[in-house]
Amino acid sequence: MNPFRRSPFVLVATVLVYTFLYAPIIGLVLYSFNASRANVTFEGFIPAFSERVVMDGSLVKSSPCGPFHWYCDLAKNDDVAEAAGNTLTIAVVATIVATVIGTMAAIALQRYDFKLKPFSQLSLYIPIVIPEIVMGIGVLTLFSQLFGWVNESFNLSGDARLSLGMATVTISHIAFMVPFVTLVVQARLQGFDKSFEEAAMDLGANEWTTFRRVTFPMILPGVMSGALLAFTLSLDDFVITFFTNGPGSTTLPIYVYGLLRRIITPQVNALSTVWILVVFTAVLLLQLIQNREQKQHS
């Protein structure tokens, strides 16, 4: 039997599932050009460019940006800019911390024996087997009880009072990202023989040199994919952020959620479209870099 043979059933199912995956996204992008501010039905594209925005009821007749009216509107929205800044800051800081400590833990778990090992290994599976909301309300309870106690015992007032904000979101993000980094790097380490490191030691390299010249280059692809996974988890996170954010630490997912419960203009669609394009370009670039490196090595 030819393994590349495809049954018509598989082919039809494939087309249907891809349609299911893409229909909502195509709709989302299309509506970002909607002339209707109410955004309930698609009223066609905004037809013309003009010096000022011309409205007819809820319909945009013309705009300085023409069909891209909602994108210009988005660029002027300070809340979006702030939320985007917060999202990136949290993701970058949390990814760096999680990647460093997660990689250290992976090396420890794969190459060393110590008393805490079973406990350390087991704790990595918590975020996988427990629903995110359970962790979300857990850290919320921890922070609110702890901050309440500290604020009261030290009689803190005004700005000195501890409260939820960027720090609590970042700390919580690191907690649920670390296990993914560690497990990915561990999987990579498992594939490599300890004998490479032992050979380096036999040839007179000390531990630091062995790590720098042998272990680290071997696990680097694992560390990179772990970091990338952590970064996307942080960018995409809603639940943990929802329970740990405070004034001034709104992220994009939280901002969009807030909008969905109030008025939704095509600006939300424009934001979504920009988001997809940015992530798509970033991933494409990463792929190209990876492919190039692979070609150089082979």
Partner: protein, 307 residues
Amino acid sequence: MLKRLRENKSTQGTLLALPTTLWLFFLLIIPLILTLVISFGKRSPDGDVIYTFSLNNYTRLFGYSTDCPEGQASCFNPLYVQILWRSLTLAFNTTALVIIMAYPLAYFIARAHPKRRNLFLFMVLIPLWTNFVIRVYAWMMLLRKEGAINVIIGGVANLLNIPFTPLEMLYTPGAVLVGMVYEFLPFMILPIYTSLEKIDTSLYEAAADLGANAIKTFLRVTLPLSMPGVVAGTILVFIPVMGTFIVSDILGGRQVILVGNLIQRQFLDARDPTFGSAASLILMIMTLIVTYFYTRKFGFGEEIVPA
């Protein structure tokens, strides 16, 4: 001292693992213990927690009520049991539907020409890179009374001269199911693909040589060998579906209330963290029990960690 550290492998290992272990201890394990302690507490009139030992939150969750008609002291209120049951059945239905949809696609990608596999996988991932909240919003636009689905069906009906009234799809259990399936479908496709791709193609030739037809080959060779992927995918889908509250919040309106919504409301609107904590512990226990029996039967999938 440094020299002693250099020679003591056990201390080195402990120190390397310490930051992660401490972080997880303080931010995952301590919060879980705190949740347990608080779930036995009581709510003070201004929404704070009074630490006592009371099982009231749990009895209330399982239907014991003191808010009864006609002078009864206590009665059965099925509200919360219904919410738990609804969440559980929705998670089962979502997982089943996701497996049915993901398997043929994963099979197609695994059987595609090796040069094209990455492109097809990439196409599965693109929708996943839009944000979770945005994906729910996209479905809200499609399912609305004035949304694209009704417009398309209406257009077709118009062509065929069939009378058509727009379907009420948004704010129904079906809308929540579709939203959940959409959100978690890629998490099933990827692990199933990984395990299908590993299968040695010579096994198919062997099966054919031994006289098995396509269906028999699938049932006796392909399906059993791809089970680790299905198991890993099930864990990656079932557990988050049990706890998600945005999908039901936006696509279900006030009609479809799940445990996630119940917990979220206790912490934000109703301000009874003690009851919310009890509900979230029950949620955790439910997922752990299902995962335990499921993995005991089928094994813990290796494909669970994306690498």
